[in-house]
């Protein structure tokens, strides 16, 4: 048998069901692994050992009574911007480093109701602003495939924890690619659901019209299981959509003969895409052809404006959302301040890191008097054109295939002094957030240096079943997801 930490969710479930292993054994196995290898990787901010073991004991008690659901006794890691009652939720920011939520996010309620075990809270770029997890206010996270490289971001802790077998699955959040890009860089599966599919209640807001919670997992089946559990209408999130949740795991197996896969011409001609990524994507296209899918040429002509529109809209929304951190009701307060105004200013300046302040300034500028029409309104019009591009494309194809990121994971420190080049690396992922459609990353190859590369599949609104099914058949035809980071240092 595999070591317990190397199991997928569905494998662990089968063993738990047959009572060949207990939830406590699996949880303890992974907690031991976290203790031995996480000092080298830095995926976790908080490990909740005692709570995890108690949840595992409760799961074993339920299983003994014959009560087992798919996630009963399955240990998971939660991105540290999803509220967990009684457990510190920091957003990797000094301004929230003592914040203990008095309530659970809806996705956490759903995981708890399903009997899942929470191992702890994982690292991220502060307030999810970044593509490398280097913007964490606490520590950086390293890529388990090569410790000199970033794991991607902002859900870098989630992706690294899944890749290094320090959890069986994880929840992250995706505002411009923050699930798909780290999944790609760490060789795991990551899904950004349709906007409104998963409740954002209890997700600390970055850019409310773009944020969506989703799973990071070792394979497509596990991602489908997690997505099914966390999806659904929630009256506490007014942007949640009241629509039936489909049985994603059950819908994976039907073949994809005749499935029309759109290849956007703009993604071929985009500058700065590395040879490694291009050849991995080209081989993926061949694999899809062999499974009977049909390739269709499509065009998404406004792709080139996506980065500019996104980096006005997201910071504008962030500048408004982050106004709540004022040192009054929770979080850090600078004790030295003597007046109310000083308290606001000193608390915020000392509590927020550089990238967060940069985006607050950019967003406030874009919304300020005299600039609103030129920046925010213009960007919102581009958003309409990008949405229309996708609507037109889906008239001739079922799903869209594209790279996730222009390059494999870059080196730690390589882009920190140049925010714009970091922003440009989001070019392939952020259109899905602007349009609100679902997208996912599935492993599709390795660079010459042995770093993982992900393939992006995007679907029409609420058509998660089709992208998951296509990814599942791709995965069945390949071995990439079975490779593990071999690293003598960990």
């Amino acid at each position: 048998m595999k070591p317990l930490h190397a199991l997928t969710i569905h494998e662990a479930h089968d063993l738990l069901k047959k009572k060949e292993v207990s939830a406590v054994e699996i949880t303890r196995g992974i907690l031991d692994r976290i203790a031995s290898i996480d000092p080298a990787i830095g995926a976790y901010i908080t490990v909740t050992d005692d709570q995890a073991l108690n949840q595992a004991k409760a799961a074993d008690a339920a299983i003994a009574k014959g009560e087992i659901e798919t996630l009963t006794g399955i240990p998971l890691a939660i991105k540290d911007l999803i509220c967990t009652r009684g457990v510190k939720t920091t957003c990797a920011s000094k301004i929230l480093d003592n914040f203990i939520p008095p309530y659970d996010a809806v996705v956490v309620e759903k995981l708890n109701a399903g009997g899942a075990v929470m191992l702890g809270k994982v690292n991220m770029d502060e307030f999810a602003m970044g593509s490398s997890t280097e913007n964490s206010g606490f520590h950086i996270t390293k890529n388990p495939w090569n410790l000199a490289h970033v794991p991607g971001g902002s859900s870098g802790g989630s992706a690294a924890a899944v890749a290094a077998d320090m959890c069986l699955g994880s929840l992250g959040s995706d505002t411009g690619g923050s699930i798909r890009q780290p999944a790609s860089h760490c060789g795991v599966v990551g899904v950004k659901p349709t906007y409104g599919r998963v409740s954002r209640f209890g997700l600390v807001a970055f850019a409310s019209s773009l944020d969506q919670i989703g799973p990071l997992a070792k394979d497509v089946m596990d991602a489908a299981i997690l997505l099914k559990t966390i999806s659904g209408y929630d009256p506490r999130d007014s942007t949640s959509v009241n629509r039936e949740v489909e049985d994603y795991p059950a819908l994976l197996s039907r073949n994809i003969k005749g499935l029309k896969i759109g290849i956007p011409e703009e993604y071929h001609t985009s500058n700065g895409v590395s040879g490694d990524v291009l050849s991995a994507i080209d081989s993926a296209v061949e694999i899809f052809k062999n499974t009977g899918a049909e390739m269709v040429d499509i065009s998404l002509p406004h792709t080139r404006y996506g980065v500019a529109a996104y980096y006005l809209i997201a910071p504008a929304e962030a500048s408004s959302n982050l106004a709540r951190y004022d040192g009054v009701k929770y979080g850090f307060r600078d004790p030295a301040a003597e007046s109310l105004m000083d308290m606001y200013r000193q608390t915020r300046s000392k509590g927020f890191g550089a990238e967060v302040q940069r985006r607050i300034i950019l967003g406030t500028y874009a919304l300020s008097a005299g600039y609103y029409d030129a920046y925010y309104k213009k960007a919102s019009q581009i958003r309409t054109l990008i949405k229309n591009d996708f609507a037109r494309a889906f008239e001739s194809c079922d799903i869209i295939l594209a790279p996730v990121a222009p390059t494999p994971a870059f080196k730690i420190g390589e882009n920190v002094d140049d925010p714009l080049s970091m922003y440009l690396s989001d070019v392939f992922t952020l259109s899905a957030n602007l349009a609100g459609i679902p997208g996912m990353s599935v492993p599709c190859g390795f660079s010459k240096d042995g770093l993982p590369i992900g393939l992006q599949l995007m679907g029409n609104y609420f058509d998660e079943p089709t992208i998951l099914r296509a990814a599942y058949h791709f995965e069945q035809a390949t071995e990439f997801h079975k490779r593990k980071p071999f690293n003598p240092e960990i």
Binding site: V241, F332, A354, Y375, Q381
Partner: protein, 95 residues
């Protein structure tokens, strides 16, 4: 178009952030580059295009006006930097 140091300071004030000189210098250069890049949007004529502020078409989300449970006062105050007698305490506002 670049952003001047004065504009950075003005916006920092609007956003209630203190900024020392080295940060103002750095931000005016970095944000200047970002804004220069953003100017590419002006290559596109978007006159008459309806702006999208929300990806999914939806109108007001209403619910029954019914009383439901909410977190109690002590829990709501549990993270306060300073609290007293059921209230959040802040530095003196009126002299």
């Amino acid at each position: 178009m670049k952003i001047t140091k004065q504009e950075v300071l003005h916006v920092a004030h609007l956003a209630r952030l203190n900024m020392d000189e080295s940060m103002v210098d750095l931000f005016s250069v970095q944000l200047g580059k970002v804004l220069e890049y953003v100017e590419t949007l002006n290559q596109l004529d978007s006159a008459g295009v309806t702006p999208t502020s929300h990806a999914i078409d939806m109108s007001n989300a209403f619910r029954e006006d019914a009383i439901t449970s909410s977190i109690d006062r002590q829990a709501a105050l549990s993270n306060a930097p300073e609290e007293d007698a059921g209230s959040f305490i802040v530095p003196k506002v009126i002299e």
